[in-house]
Amino acid sequence: MIHSPYVRKPVSVQRTMGLVLLALVPGIVAHALVIGAGVLVNLAISTITAVAAEALMLHLRKRPVGIAVADLSAVVTAWLVTLCFPPIVPWWLTVCAVLVAIVAVKHLYGGLGQNPFNPAMIAYCSMIVAFPALMSQWPPAGHLSFDTQLSLILGGPRDIDGITGATALDALRTGLRSGTQTVDTVLKGSAFGALGGRGWEWVSIGYVAGGLFLLAMRIITWHMPVAFIGVLAAISGLFWLVDPAGFASPLFHLASGGAMLAAFFIVTDPVSGATTPRGKLLFAGGIALIAWLIRNFGAYPEGIAFGVLLMNMCVPLLDMKTQPRVFGHRHDIEGGGK
């Protein structure tokens, strides 16, 4: 027997995921134009791998394959994995990363909606630990021809020094740790543009545009992007004001690395993130804080992925302790589902 309500809003998981993919398009276009079209090849590789892995896992788990593959969640994971990676990683690295994300992180934990960790971020972290060299080869904007990119992706010989340069975050970190340079002198280097990494600013702007689209479509709420950007700007701003020679400006932090991709697409992953309004603020703020700490004092140039995973662990606690007040329970003790 079917019960009320008998009317449903015309929405679906497929529509949600489809809109997320659509929102990634401006960033991808900027990426392809400014950095190089190799990213499109990697996107194709990751998409095919993800859909195949998804279908296989659903089949092994004896779940309906068609409807679950059609929800596009695997494609979103695939695209996020690729967009976090250097655009010239060899194809097998992408395949490994996507398999880790889909098979291990998603399906071994029970499939869509069940994974406590962000699949793309586990993929990123496991690959940067396993293949640190390949994962840090970022080509400077417009430096490599598409043929070169393609050959590198297909596993061609890699002349490291010839093809890649240090990323903005990497250059800053190395420069500052050498003890001889200040932020200003480092920023005059070739890796840097007006705001952050040269060329990457445009990609970031593309992600921001997509993120604003998701906000407008009410796919994501304001809490996580605002908290992430706010905390990252606040903490970096504070140290920058105190010691401008030793710490980069908030604008640099926001425009560099994956900050904008993370703010609108990574930390906002609903499955592995906090769900209450206050929980979302704490979750995204915590990621920003951890990311900034790792960027400045950690062993890796970029710390967002580790921040996401660490905060993923806190989600059950955050959710439990930030339950919103229920209608009419104004005087209840705040916090806790009690």
Partner: protein, 565 residues
């Protein structure tokens, strides 16, 4: 004069579909061949039958006497003959049966003598009793007895009249407000006076501009405020409307009266007006017939009219696959149509796959929190879903399961098409069932414990009695000396009250034996006596033969007695 409006969290804006049925005036539905009037209009308002089969009744004649605290009167909707008094299926998702009075109308529709009731001349209790006897219950759907709602709470400042009608498709309150605004406000003011409220506020969703205008026109020159509230389902929920109009939030399990507000439906106010000013009990109501039908509209329907008869007036189209009672958000698909319209029936929708397509298959929850954003009670439905699914009912209650008003907003917005409300209904009924079981177990345990207690108590009482008796006996023996009853005078026996008693009893028995030697051979017929004498004679012969082993047997019989003493 326009007060500030407040917001409640969440809410949804489904397609209203009001225009289908709101265009035409309310028409009077023809009387069916048989009216099936339930004596119990809801789970709450019960009545005892006071008519007999074959009895002639007049329109408005009372056929059911209010029963119990929440009981309200039941009346004949027209004149006619009582054809049967029997259990009939009700409009309920499970087709429950309830005792009904079946009336065959005589077509005259002749009223019983009735007169207005001057509530100003009567006491408050008398006025409430009048409402109860007129069978006035909340017509918004919950059918809560109005006299009970009016009687509770004190110091009520604001009376709110609910004309929000937020459910899609339903327009019965809309039409009533457009056509009978003056009567509604008259009834509302009677309610306001009875409750002692200072102000009267009417809340109408702003998607009913004609109703707002009609009510405002009727309120001109009075302190009554008619407020257009934003159309946002479920703004017509009592607690949501109170929140919107006054800012007061009433938690689960509390009533408006505790917070100085009280809320009545516009239809109820109209029924109150008819009851006091015209002396008419509640025997009809406005029902919206709409959906997939040729002639949607609003009808004034006699209570007890079978839904099938009523539905014929709307002429459902051929592809109608279900009939919904109530709105599409909170109503239910009727398992059968031979059930009567009751006081809470506000809408009957002909449903087709085109208008109400079946829900797509359920997908996994992705924790997108759309449900939490839509929930007017500010719950986290996905958490409740998780706990309900895993039957973790304790946790579900911690997350305020019972605050859920089952409005359906969460199910409506869920992109994974999870029927969230169904999970919550399931959890609630499971918890109720477990509580009933627990209550039954508690009662059984209480009974068992009481039985043990009683047995202990009786033992103690017996012992006390024995002790008292023993003391008494000892005293007697002490008085009488030892000569008369040597056995009882033994030292150890005197120490033990039980033994003393037994000894005393033995002594008494001996004394009695000495006086009379009752034998079962007394009072026998001469013939039997002769037979016995004959048998005795033969036995003596046998005893003489067996005389030799006799002393042994006597010893054996005596032996077991020795260690006992």
């Amino acid at each position: 004069m326009i007060g500030r409006l407040f917001k409640f969290h969440g809410g949804i804006k489904p397609d209203a579909h009001k225009n289908e049925s709101s265009g035409g005036a309310i028409r009077k539905a023809p009387l069916p061949a048989r009216l099936v009037v339930p004596l119990r209009q809801s789970a709450r308002a019960g009545a005892a039958c006071i008519v007999a089969v074959g009895q002639r009744v007049l329109k408005g004649e009372r056929i059911g006497e209010p029963e119990g605290f929440l009981g309200t009167g039941v009346h004949a909707p027209t004149s006619g003959t009582v054809a049967a008094i029997a259990s009939c299926p009700m409009a309920h998702p499970s087709g429950l049966e309830t005792p009904c009075v079946v009336i065959e109308p005589d077509g005259e529709d002749r009223w019983i003598e009735h007169a207005p009731f001057d509530y100003r001349a009567a006491s408050r209790d008398e006025a409430l009793a009048w409402l109860r006897d007129c069978g006035i219950v909340g017509l918004g759907g919950a059918t809560f007895p109005s006299h009970v709602k009016l009687g509770r709470g004190s110091g009520i400042e604001t009376l709110i009249l609910n004309g929000a009608e937020c459910e899609p498709w339903i327009t019965c309150d809309d039409r009533l407000m457009r056509e009978r605004a003056v009567d509604i406000l008259a009834g509302a003011n009677i309610l306001r006076e009875l409750i002692g409220a200072r102000e009267l506020v009417v809340g109408v969703e702003d998607n009913k501009p004609e109703a707002v205008a009609a009510m405002q026109a009727a309120a001109v020159g009075t302190p009554t405020r008619v407020v257009a509230v934003p159309a946002l389902y479920p703004a017509g929920g009592e607690k949501q409307l109170i929140r919107v109009l006054t800012g007061v939030e009433i938690p689960y399990g509390k009533l408006g009266g505790d917070y100085g507000v009280r809320c009545f439906n516009v239809g109820t106010a109209h029924a109150v007006y008819r009851a006091f000013i015209h002396g008419e009990p509640l025997i009809s109501r406005i029902v919206t017939l709409t959906g997939n039908c040729e002639t949607p509209g609003n009808w004034e329907v006699a209570i007890g009219t079978p839904v099938a008869d009523l539905l014929a007036l709307a002429r459902p189209k051929a592809d109608t696959d279900r009939i919904l009672m109530g709105g599409p958000m909170m109503g239910f698909a009727m398992p059968r149509l031979d059930v009567p319209v009751v006081k809470g029936t506000n809408c009957i929708i002909s449903a087709s796959p085109r208008l109400f397509p079946p829900a797509p298959p359920e997908q996994p929850c992705i924790r997108c929190t759309e449900c939490a954003k839509a929930c007017p009670v500010e719950l986290q439905p996905f958490e409740l879903y998780w706990h309900s699914r895993s039957k973790n009912f304790g946790k579900a209650q911690e997350y305020h399961l019972f605050d859920c008003i089952e409005c359906g907003c969460c199910t409506y917005v869920c992109p994974a098409h999870i029927p969230l409300v169904d999970y919550f209904r399931f959890s609630k009924s499971e918890i109720w069932a477990r509580e009933r079981e627990k209550t039954a177990a508690d009662q059984a345990r209480e009974r068992f414990e009481f039985r043990n207690f009683r047995q202990e108590r009786e033992k103690a009482e017996k012992a006390a009695k024995l002790a008292a008796k023993a003391a008494e006996t000892r005293a007697k023996l002490a008085e009488a000396g030892t000569a008369e009853a040597p056995a009882a005078a033994d030292a150890p026996a005197a120490e033990d009250p039980k033994k003393a008693l037994i000894a005393a009893a033995l002594a008494r028995a001996k004394a009695q034996k000495a006086e009379i030697q009752p034998q079962n051979t007394d009072n026998l017929s001469p013939q039997t006596q002769a037979e016995i004498a004959d048998i005795e004679a033969r036995r003596k012969v046998l005893e003489a033969v067996a005389a030799t082993p006799a002393p042994q047997a006597a010893e054996a019989a005596a032996a077991p007695d020795e260690p006992r003493s």
